[in-house]
């Protein structure tokens, strides 16, 4: 005999898995701190080189900077990645593809706007093809100005993101 869902809600002391009750409960406890500690130390980023800043993005993932120390690992599939780095100007043609990448990434996920072009459009901000203000489309946590920023700036951005996650101030999760 099929049981209505409303029947479950009346059972006292039972937390249902079809609602956010468990995660809501966790968010108010120390368990969320432990979760965030784990999340902030495994920020795998999506290798999505969109412009000349992409070269800095690629070299950040290489052996010289050794970002594996901080759990920052480049991933080649959006399904493995936690961080999307917008590393260039977003054209009207590229925006649907970028949204598709973003939708393929599993939660929790964060965005870093890397370079002047990603923040405002950079030198191309008044082009007929540039989509301005990508922070209205993606929940950008950290902005990294520079043209292009150095690899150290990107590592600094990851540190800022780690601090935000630890302080529960990031936009990737609802607290």
């Amino acid at each position: 005999m099929a049981v209505e869902q409303s029947d479950y809600e009346e059972v006292p002391g039972v937390i249902l898995t079809d609602r956010n009750a468990i995660s809501d409960f966790l968010k108010t406890t120390k368990a969320q701190d432990v979760l965030n500690w784990g999340r902030k130390n495994s920020l795998w980023f999506m290798v999505n080189a969109m412009g000349c800043c992409g070269v800095e993005l690629l070299s950040t993932g290489m052996a010289h900077y050794d970002t594996d120390r901080f759990g920052i690992i480049p991933r080649n599939s959006p399904r493995h990645a936690d961080v999307l780095i917008i590393s260039g100007y977003v054209t009207k043609k590229y925006l649907p593809a970028l949204k598709k990448i973003w939708d393929q990434m599993p939660s929790p996920k964060w965005v870093i706007a890397f370079g002047d072009c990603a923040i405002s459009g950079g030198p191309f901000y008044e082009s007929y093809s540039t989509r301005q203000n990508v922070d209205e489309i993606f929940p950008v946590d950290v902005f990294v100005p520079g043209c292009p920023p150095r690899c150290e700036a990107l590592i600094q951005a990851f540190f800022e993101l780690q601090k935000k996650i630890e302080a529960k101030q990031d936009k990737g999760t609802e607290y």
Partner: protein, 158 residues
């Protein structure tokens, strides 16, 4: 064969269609051409005057004259003369014959001129936008009266 003989040969072959010829220097010649026979002119240039290399093809917008110029810059592998060929089209309905049957590399040049200026190439094998998204077709962003620039809406200018 030097620049003067080339331009004379072209003018005698197409007396009605070639006008405003000019020899700028020993290696640069300029001519205007009626758009109806551009393919025949290009074929003659390629087969008889060994202009075998289309360097580029693009559009220029002149809203004051209500005209769009399509410019062909044609070079050669055998001599050092570069020919600039200009065809003048009406701005309301710019249509010209495609030169892809003569110069195969004109394919992408014509697609780009089509998406940016709205020049319609007749008998082009695959006339669709080259770089721009499909929904921007019809805006013709490189025309001088294009109004779609988003220059006042950027928030976080750095």
């Amino acid at each position: 064969m030097d620049a003067n003989t080339m331009i004379d040969s072209l003018s005698t072959q197409f007396p009605d269609a070639i006008y405003d010829t000019k020899v700028e220097s020993k290696i640069r010649i300029i001519a205007k051409v009626k758009p109806e026979i551009i393919t025949d002119v290009c074929k003659y240039l390629k087969e008889n005057l060994s202009f075998g290399h289309l360097c580029c093809e693009f559009g220029v917008d002149y809203p004051g004259r209500n005209e769009i110029e399509v410019v062909y810059v044609i070079g050669s592998y055998d001599h050092s003369v570069v020919l600039t060929l200009k065809a003048i089209l009406p701005r309301d309905n710019p249509e010209i014959e495609s030169v892809v049957p003569v110069f195969w590399n004109a394919n992408w040049y014509e697609r780009e001129t089509y998406e940016l200026f709205g020049v319609k190439y007749l008998n082009h094998p695959d006339l669709k936008p080259l770089v721009l998204p499909e929904d921007m077709l019809g805006e013709w962003p490189l025309r001088k009266d294009y109004k779609g620039f988003p220059n006042k809406t950027a928030k976080n200018l750095v």
